[in-house]
């Protein structure tokens, strides 16, 4: 699997996801500077977490117009897998690669904690390492993770099996009490129509090493490596 991580000014999980990828695949991904305009031949592009451009104006809004994003969009159209984590998810929605928007957390505060997620579908290269219905523990760390889209858009996401993860309790129930940020229908991650672009607020790269307290994030990177190698 040939992977690359896009580095914007203000990205701060770029190294973390590169470490997780290397741990699983044995190869360090390419790090691509935001001012570049071309991408090498790739199987996977990761848009990492952080505060691109300080998240000034609106989270992800400026990064979505960064020079490299035209190339990312073009590669995505060709089916290259694109994974947006946290700020990366925000950027992908701002760039129009995924529907909806990430608003301020309902409680207005930044939240950093492990949350439980129900894997809604294993039918993608990102989620094939999990069983549908499985409950996994992965951390969130965001101030703007409140997923919003019009009801018709949400219905369509559900009808097309494009909700990848929902916030849930230990039994997998998407209860309001298990929703850390007010996201509509407890949505934590979604796929595009071709199931080749995933955006998610939780950070799978943060729990892919047993020393850090868990490994529920690792199957995502393993599944990508298996599918794309």
């Amino acid at each position: 699997m040939k992977a690359a991580v896009i580095v914007f000014p203000g990205s701060n999980c770029d190294r973390d996801v590169a470490v997780a990828l290397k741990r699983v695949t044995g190869h360090a991904p390419r790090m691509i500077w935001h001012r570049d305009t071309a991408l090498p031949a790739l199987d996977l592009i990761v848009v990492p977490g952080g505060f691109s451009y300080g998240d000034y104006l609106r989270s992800g809004a400026m990064a979505a117009h960064s020079p490299i994003m035209a190339a990312v969009t073009a590669q995505a159209a060709k089916g290259v897998r694109v994974l947006g984590i946290c700020n990366g998810f925000q950027i992908l929605t701002e760039a129009g690669l995924l529907p909806g928007v990430l608003m301020r957390n309902q409680g207005l505060s930044f939240i950093c904690r492990d949350v439980l997620l129900k894997v809604e579908t294993s039918a993608s290269d990102f989620t094939a390492g999990y069983n549908a219905g499985q409950v996994v523990r992965i951390p969130v760390a965001h101030g703007d993770g409140n997923y919003f889209a019009e009801p018709a858009v949400l219905d369509r996401l559900e009808d097309e099996d494009r909700v990848a993860f929902r916030y849930c309790d230990e039994g997998g129930a998407p209860l309001e009490a298990a929703n850390p940020n007010g996201s509509r229908r407890n949505i934590a991650g979604i796929l595009n129509e071709t199931r080749t672009v995933l955006g998610m607020m939780p950070h799978p790269e943060r729990l892919a090493d047993p020393l850090l307290g868990g490994t529920d994030g690792a199957p995502m990177f393993r599944a990508l490596a298996a599918a794309l190698s």
Partner: protein, 724 residues
């Protein structure tokens, strides 16, 4: 230019005697820019004029200390060619006036102190002290400070892994915000602030200079009064995004050989950074103020020199390497400007519009700053509180009061607003004795903590000073780490009052004794005096930030019980001391008496023993016994794991045994109590079987159970309910 009147001199915080020294050094009347420069350089904040005499008495050396106090931060060797660089600094006054920006820029400033020395910041901590919960401003200040720390630290992408939050009415009008940063550097690539090379270019990088923060250092050296909120315009505004770029740009440039010296622009901005660099190098400096990047037009020399705009650095470059540096800063879209050069005149000469606007001698100003031996009086010794005189309450009721109240409740509400996992190396998350951060790419780890018990210091500054250092050492030990060194953040009231100065002197004496006994030198620090409002001083608060080294993070243990049916062993003496305890204050309603004495030999012996057990894999959980005593410690271990415990205590006074705050104690969980007890006997360490883990409740002497769920509910409820 305004004329220099006695009123203007007074407004600049200079006494008439100090102004006489200004006149003597200048040989003429200073202009307003020059007066401003004297004012900030001789402020308490920059000159340490009241504290220097006593700070000098602290031990600052050890074989592993690479650089002690005097640079931007302290440097210790952590082996394998790497060094840990760390410091703690206060941002108390700005945070009271404007909590979000005050706290945010406190984090930004301490980060710069660390990366200016060539270290990548890897962890932040903060020690916060607020007024009484019921005070009208407290909630607003807590919300603002926590959001400000999170807003800055989260964006720069450095995990905030630990700290303290405490409430006391003495902080009602003067909160404490002490921020600490730890960074990692290669020992052969550490950067210092001593300028060298006559003719070398002096370069300004980072954000533009604006009118914010003018005279922050002077403000930080004055007492507060009711009209302090009028000082809001002097609080700086932080931009963590620019700081993130500045970190990356500086570290990228530091990988080349272009930099001769580098210094961040912190308190007193361009003035103190340029002065300190030239002064340390025994050189002069010429600065063209027209070359300083400014945010607005019409700024005067006075404003440019005294601005405390954030996210700025000053560097001296190797001649001919300017283009290398410029390319790096262009890449990161940061301002880069050659603003002057080093000279051999020993003077600072500032020009603007072709005219000389200030011309001062550097050495007399920077090194002949006033130094005072302020009169001090020792504190009054308080009587010991006899346990027999303290009424007993049922232990369950007392425990719920302590762990469910403002002081003892969970701080989860606070630290969940901090990204404590970014950088992917946080092995020990907040909530334990010490945070543990793996050193990237290795199996080693740095443990970090911040500690002080201000009520002990107020009751007996000497014992309180010892206790603050000992508790930090104990917290590092409790995760298995070898304590290395400390940074001290001395927060006190007005040193011109002999009783306050007495607290300072005695606390330093106690700290120094503990540092020597525990091989735990002071390598950096910060002094914040005049923490008073309308003549009411804060509790004396010498915050100790400390780091330790864990050779293999897999060997470390946490506070949570690892399994049921393990033995619990108490290391150290039985509980007996209720004076100044949580129990006495919160259950019996009496905040009084002498605090627990600190036996440094016992601290050393017991701590070294516990660390050895952890490293040998003989214990599965460990917690030091501090605020609230033994039962609070055991309850915290139960809550962290969801596993219950039964503990047995005897003695004439159950409350003293369960809630006494005697020092040098730990609780460990082990699968082999006999081995632990035998080893303790051999090492001359007091130890006894305390009980066992198991079930889902906490019991004392087999009776009166409280479920762990009920404990957790009480522990986790107070903070969110208070802030709701």
């Amino acid at each position: 230019m305004p004329a220099i009147t006695p009123e203007i001199v007074a407004e600049h915080g200079l006494s008439p005697a100090e102004y006489e020294r200004v006149l003597a050094i200048m040989g003429r009347e200073p202009n307003i820019t020059e007066l401003g420069i004297f004012s900030v350089m001789w402020s308490e904040h920059c000159s340490y004029k009241s504290s220097k005499k006593w700070l000098k008495t602290l031990p600052t050396t050890a074989p592993w200390v690479i650089c002690g106090p005097g640079e931007n931060a302290g440097v210790v060797d952590i082996g394998d060619g790497q060094a840990a660089i760390f410091k703690m600094e206060s941002h108390n006054h700005p945070s009271f006036i404007e909590p979000y920006q005050g706290a945010a820029t406190g984090v930004g400033g301490i980060l710069r102190d660390v990366f200016t020395m060539g270290a990548r910041p890897v962890a932040n901590l903060n020690a916060l002290r607020f007024g009484a919960p019921e005070h009208a401003k407290t909630r607003h200040l807590v919300a603002g400070v926590v959001a400000g720390i999170g807003g800055y630290g989260n964006c720069v992408g450095v995990p905030t892994v630990g700290g303290e939050v405490e409430f006391h009415p003495s902080y009602n009008g003067n909160i404490l915000v002490n921020a600490m940063t730890i960074g990692i550097a290669d020992t052969d690539n550490i950067f210092y602030s001593e300028a060298s090379g006559v003719g070398n270019p002096v370069v300004y990088v980072g954000s533009k200079t604006g009118r914010d923060g003018i005279h922050g250092a002077t403000m930080a050296s004055a007492e507060f009064s009711e009209d302090s909120e009028e000082k809001r315009p002097t609080v700086q505004v932080g931009d963590p995004f620019t700081e993130k770029l500045l970190i990356e740009a500086c570290l990228e440039l530091m990988a080349t050989d272009a930099i001769v010296a580098i210094q961040d622009m912190g308190a007193a901005g361009l003035t103190s950074s340029s002065f300190e660099m030239a002064s340390k190098g025994g050189l002069g400096v010429e600065i063209d103020l027209d070359a300083v990047p400014v945010r607005e037009t019409g700024m005067t020399p006075y404003e440019i020199m005294l601005s405390e705009s954030q996210e700025r650095m000053l560097m001296v470059l190797e001649p001919g390497k300017e283009h290398i540096a410029k390319a790096v800063f262009d890449k990161w879209e940061l301002d880069f400007s050659i603003i002057g050069r080093l000279t051999d005149t020993g003077r600072m000469v500032l020009t603007m519009g072709g005219a000389t606007v200030a011309d001062l001698p550097i050495d007399p100003l920077a090194q002949a700053a006033p130094e005072y031996d302020r009169p001090w009086t020792p504190g009054e010794k308080l009587p010991e509180v006899a346990a027999a005189d303290v009424p007993e309450r049922p232990w369950g009721e007392a425990l719920l009061t302590l762990i469910g109240g403002p002081q003892g409740s969970s701080r989860r509400w606070v630290w969940e607003q901090y990204d404590h996992m970014v950088m992917g190396d946080t092995v020990g998350r907040p909530g334990g004795d010490a945070a543990l951060v793996r050193i990237h790419g290795t199996k080693k780890g740095l443990a970090a903590t911040s500690d002080v018990t201000p009520r002990y210091v107020a009751a007996d500054a000497h014992q309180g000073g010892r206790q603050a250092v000992a508790e930090a050492w104990r917290n590092l030990t409790a995760v298995g780490a070898t304590p290395l060194a400390i940074t001290d953040n001395m927060n006190f009231g007005n040193p011109e009052r002999p009783a306050i100065m007495g607290q300072f002197v005695e606390a330093i004496k106690g700290m120094g004794e503990a540092c020597i006994a525990l091989d735990f030198p002071v390598v950096s620090g910060n002094v914040s005096l005049y923490n008073e409002t309308n003549g009411e001083a804060i509790l004396p608060t010498p915050t100790i930030g400390a780091i330790g080294l864990m050779p293999d993070v897999e060997q470390s243990v946490g506070i949570g019980f690892a399994a049921p049916d393990q033995a619990l062993v108490l290391i150290g003496a039985e509980g007996s001391w209720l004076g100044q305890s949580w129990y006495l204050a919160q259950v019996a309603g009496r905040a009084e008496g002498a605090p627990p004495p600190v036996d440094l030999a016992a601290e050393r012996r017991n701590g070294d023993f516990v660390r050895g057990l952890i490293r040998a894999g003989q214990v599965s959980a460990c917690h030091d016994v501090s605020d609230g005593g033994l039962l609070v410690a055991v309850a915290e271990m139960a809550m962290a794991s969801g596993i219950g415990a039964d503990v047995s205590v005897a003695g004439p006074h159950l409350h003293a045994a369960l809630f006494g705050e005697d020092q040098a104690r730990y609780v460990v969980a082990t699968a082999d109590a006999e081995a632990v007890l035998a080893a303790a006997a051999k090492a001359g360490v007091a130890a006894r079987r305390l009980g066992a883990t198991g079930g889902d409740a906490l019991a004392v002497n087999g009776a009166d159970e409280i479920s762990v769920a009920a404990l957790k509910k009480a522990h986790e409820s107070w903070f969110p309910a208070y802030m709701a």
